[in-house]
Amino acid sequence: MKIDFKPLKALELLDDLIYQGEDIFSWDQKKTDQMQFMLISEAFKYHYANCYSYREYCDRFKFNPSSIKTIKDLNNIPLIPSALFKEQNILSCLPDQIVKVCESSGTKGTVSKVYRDGDTLNRFLGSLQSSLDQLYCIDDAFCINLGPSSEEAGDLWFSYAMSVVDMVFPTENFIVDGVFYPEKAIERIYQTVNDNNYENLVITGAPVMFIELLSYMNEHNIKIDNSEKIYFVTAGGWKRFSGQAISRTDFWQMLSERFLNADYQNFRDTFNMVELNTILPECECQVKHVVPWVKVLIIDPVTGTPVEDGDVGLVAFLDPSAKSYPCFVLTDDIGRTSLIGKCKCGRGGQGLEIIRRVKSVESRGCALKMDKIYAKN
């Protein structure tokens, strides 16, 4: 008796790339364009059909799915200013499909709310896993999170996103019941470095929380030897609540004075924001690599059109991985494309440099909120 394999439901192309893509940073521009055209135009069609408020918004620009005929037309997809997520519930699915309400941290009270369904949250986790696999290349690590657990983070996206590393690596959180415990974090760092139970140690947190940790180490004259295998992963803004900017160079100087033999290649900043469903991690050359299914546009704030490669402008994302809301977002971050083609690390694609936030009435940023709440120094 011969039985044949019956096919089950096929994996969607985008999910294949997110969850299983192994060569995504080696694509040439032609392949990237083809994929972006296919995936982003499909996502636009979906959100235009399923998100009433976005459709109305697009109609004002006289832009609809038939407006996308070539890759260049993706540049004209109506972008949602991130501030709009503070004012409206923007949804492309039924409310009962939402599994996580994700909030930004308006430091003066107003917050953005982004609604994620299971597929969207899973894809976010997929981007986290692929970052670790493909840009950090870490197999086995223990993670020290200078932030709260996912339960304590509640709806605050930044903290939640940092804490879900627990899905990949064993993680311990060092903000508990709203209190940061630097002495316990140091004890755990020391133990992990010396036990050799893990190949690597990953310390994650907002730059301000690292500064809190380093200040404590400084005050108590604590140094960690053998820091070669520690990854220092920062995320969130590089500005303090006081308005003072944190220099990356000074930060590394402080860090390397306390973590002896730390490797600069293991110092990785990461970009994400509540409205973006993908993580943009840095490679060992400190370039923030953009996964090829996400298109980054740098927009001239005056004309509203994309600037030349390398020029500075407002950062915008076309991210097809979000299903529950249209992730076609104009941010209030100023940046530029720092890479088109081959990086020194060997990976290719688009690289992004975030320069600063637009000066606005309300300072917005999760790291700022962490600074306001937890930082003493």
Binding site: K2, F5, K6, V99, G118, G126, D139, D140, V164, P170
Partner: protein, 313 residues
């Protein structure tokens, strides 16, 4: 007994959890986690995949427990997880012995109830061990479902490592193969290869011989783009005993590591629930309850804490 709090859940049923530490004759511990809602439901045993632990099969457990089954997961000795020993000393023979110990404990009763049936779910390398178990132990399990199951260790190791280490061992059995990684963790290859070949667990032919002796009904779910398994070999292994094959399914586009691919995993887990339900004629149940990712994230944290607690013991 731990009662898992319903507070973190939205879709998941409240379930009970019992930790069982089985001691073998060498005074080594096999750490098991038994989850159940109603002890009268059929039991599904889930051995670990290579390098993985009880926690890795959390989502699988949640699908089964929410859809009419109890689940017993365990950690292999000489492996990651909470059983005795380091992964460096892992061998398939050792993993086989663990399955024997666990099943003997279940059969002895009365801790784990199996009056209404017992099935086994094998994922990846665990399937190869289960084929051997079923060939030597008839009428213990009522049904076996294999997901991305290994049938040819020689092929799988060759695909992972990029060279035919089994052939090298067969050519030079006295060579020192040292301690090296297979995937993420270093393994003592001398012990691993010697055990694999000595127990004849290394080739497709050896799997065929095992399958020839099996009477348990088996269903297969394979991944179409599995780089570590030639899925055609999965059916080929049944060429002399096709009558025990109930159904075979293919996950189009999926690779081997389904724990990284929730979309294909969901499709596979739905099918696994259906296959077990069909076996026990649970035909009045059509709807499949699915855990939400937020629930999995919360429960994963609890399982991490449990893992840490038992490591400290």
């Amino acid at each position: 007994m731990v009662r898992v709090q319903g507070g973190v859940t939205k879709m998941i049923l409240d379930y009970q959890e019992k930790i069982i530490n089985i001691e073998n004759s060498s005074k080594e511990t096999i750490h098991c986690v038994y989850n159940y809602t109603n002890k009268e439901l059929p039991l599904i045993v889930i051995p670990p995949q290579f390098e993985k632990t009880i926690r890795t099969n959390l989502t699988t457990m949640l699908y089964l427990i929410n859809n009419g089954f109890n689940v017993l997961r365990f950690d292999n000795r000489n492996h990651n997880g909470n059983s005795t020993g380091r992964i460096q000393d892992y061998s398939l023979g050792g993993a086989y012995d663990d399955l024997v110990e666990v099943v003997n404990f279940i059969k002895e009763g009365p801790v784990v109830e199996t009056e209404n049936g017992m099935g086994i779910l094998g994922i990846s390398i665990a399937s190869r061990i289960i084929y051997r178990y079923l060939s030597l132990n008839k009428n213990v399990f009522d049904v076996f479902v294999s997901l991305a199951g290994v049938v040819n260790m020689k092929y799988t190791l060759n695909s992972i490592l990029g060279y035919d280490i089994v052939q090298e061992y067969l050519s030079e059995p006295n060579r020192d193969f040292g301690i090296k990684k297979v995937l993420k963790y270093p393994i003592d290859y001398n012990n691993f290869l010697h055990n694999l070949v000595n127990l004849s667990l290394h080739t497709l032919e050896s799997t065929q011989k095992d399958i020839d002796r099996i009477v348990t009904p088996i269903s297969l779910i394979v991944s179409e783009n599995d780089k570590w398994i030639d899925y055609n070999e999965c059916s080929e292994a049944f060429k002399n005993n096709a009558d025990i094959l109930v159904e075979m399914f293919k996950l189009p586009g999926a690779g081997h590591e389904l724990y990284k691919n929730p979309q294909s995993a969901e499709v596979a887990l739905n099918k696994i629930v259906e296959l077990f339900r069909t076996h026990w004629n649970m035909t009045n149940e059509n709807y499949i309850h699915k855990p939400e990712i937020t629930e999995i994230i919360s429960l994963n944290k609890l399982e991490r804490e449990r893992e840490r607690f038992y490591i400290n013991l």
